[in-house]
């Protein structure tokens, strides 16, 4: 009998082999793929996010959990595609132009995937027009911008402007060490998240 809680627990401790084996077992037993995704992988990553927020987990623990999640997702995705299940939303993420830091951006990407979102990673040092292009191509609901430096955070405003000019309805969320809610308000971003786990909560809120 499939044990969805056991999958979540294996994910939380980063045990990808067990996650893979249990997800396969659950699929073989005919467990609904969407329920499997939400009650094991997404639920497990929610716990990982909370532990990260509370300084119980650090980057290595998040990474091994995300890797375990991917082991399950590789098995689940084809089934989800067959059933026509849709992701929670599509998010283009990237570090803004002039900034090469990608650790925070990568964490947000992993947590968003863990939250059931489709993630399009634009990479680092990304120009405003590239964000617009990728959002158009992917039909993204959200764009997530990362910056670590006070000298590069100003690029976030340029992305907001570029998205407006392109006439996209895509919402913009921002984060990074020097970023604050006040700054998000100032440049007209739709939201600010202080850490990777909060970014998932914010993305869910922005999706309505």
């Amino acid at each position: 009998m499939a044990d969805l809680a056991a999958i979540a627990e294996a994910l939380i401790r980063g045990d990808r082999d067990t996650v893979g084996a249990l997800v396969q077992q659950a699929l073989d037993e005919g467990v609904d793929a969407e329920a499997l995704l939400n009650e094991s992988l997404v639920a497990g990553m929610d716990v990982v996010g909370r532990k990260f927020k509370n300084n119980e987990f650090y980057v290595p623990e998040v990474l091994i959990a995300a890797r375990a999640m991917n082991a399950g997702m590789e098995l689940l995705e084809p089934v989800l595609a067959e059933t026509g299940a849709r992701p929670a939303g599509t998010v283009v993420i990237g570090t803004v132009k002039g900034d090469l830091h990608d650790i925070g951006k990568n964490l947000v990407g992993m947590m968003l995937k863990g939250g059931g979102f489709k993630v399009v990673d634009a990479g680092i040092d990304v120009a405003p027009e590239k964000f617009v292009e990728l959002a158009q191509e992917s039909g993204a609901n959200l764009i997530g911008l990362s910056a670590l430096l006070t000298t590069t955070m100003t690029q976030m405003g340029n992305v907001v402007e570029a998205v407006k000019e392109a006439g996209l309805a895509t919402k913009i969320m921002i984060g990074g060490a020097p970023i604050t809610q006040d700054y998000a308000d100032e440049i007209g971003a739709d939201g600010y998240a202080p850490d990777a786990a909060s970014a998932v909560d914010l993305a869910r809120r922005l999706m309505g």
């Binding site: 980063g14 290595p60 090469l100 060490a177 020097p178």
Partner: protein, 354 residues
Amino acid sequence: MTALLDEIGFEDVKASFDAFWRREAPDGPLVAVLCPREDAVPWDFPVPDTLEGRWTDAAYQVNRARWQTQNTVYLGAALPIYVPNIGPDSFTAYLGGELAFLDDDTSWVRPFVDDLADFTPVFERDNPWWRRMCDLIEASSEAAEGHFLVGIPDLHGGGDALAAARHPDRLALDLYDRPDEVRRLMPALTDIYKQVFEEYVRRTSRAQVGTTTWLPAYSRGRFTALQNDFSGLISPSMFAEFFLPEIRELAGYLDNSLYHLDGPSALGNLPLLLEVAELDGIQWVPGAGARPMSAWVDVCRQVLEAGKCLQIGVASTEVEHMLARLPHEGLFITTYCGSEAEGRGLLRRIRPGG
């Protein structure tokens, strides 16, 4: 013309730093104030056409060093220092990494280690980036002539070097997947750190007695800033297991050492660092966009009350606030004032007899 170091009373500043390392403050708080010179000299030197040239052209860099010292007023414990710099990943570049320049302030090494098991770090003296750094040190040491000090370049060894060579995400996974390889590599990197540091000291000692670095304290002996920015991503227990032994080893090897603690995410490692007897102290940097230093009095007190030195950069408007709340023994504050008059006024208020 009087050499700038004589003009600013370098011998007195040296004595102040001697007291700082002893956690004493016989002449009042140790505060370095930088201000712009009112009769600023305009820039009148050729600028290399290429980005890489602006980073590595020795003549250009020396002109910049001279121009900056000419246009700055050094008050209190402030010293004119030029630090040869090709970026924080220079150490990793000496191990075979390729440095890339994004703009005039940012350079990095592209990750080049696919598998830790295949990586044996070797410091080759004919490495092109090492030769360029040597050129910068040689040229600036020759030009210093008592006008400025040549600092030990930014040295990100150990964990930061591995993170640059592998990519931080991959190194974070290695701590779970290949812990034995990380343990194998760390002592080798520590040994190379010492070799590089020795070369830096040998070359800068042509210009001066003693050492300084980008963290603008001074030691008559061998001093530099120790750091491991990667440690901000990992748990204190992993920091203790994999990287703290290097910090302890290097702190013991140096005559004076300050650990650069960068940002709130690294604060969890502070109690471990304060237990390293060989380490003189901590430089606390709240990080980009963080609350001002006045919000971190508890962290500052924790360092000083542990018997360690503390270096902090403080907005000029907060210097008196911080001095009123912290013991002065072992404390070194750096600040910037908008004018010489403002800087002198601040110093008069905080060191009335000085």
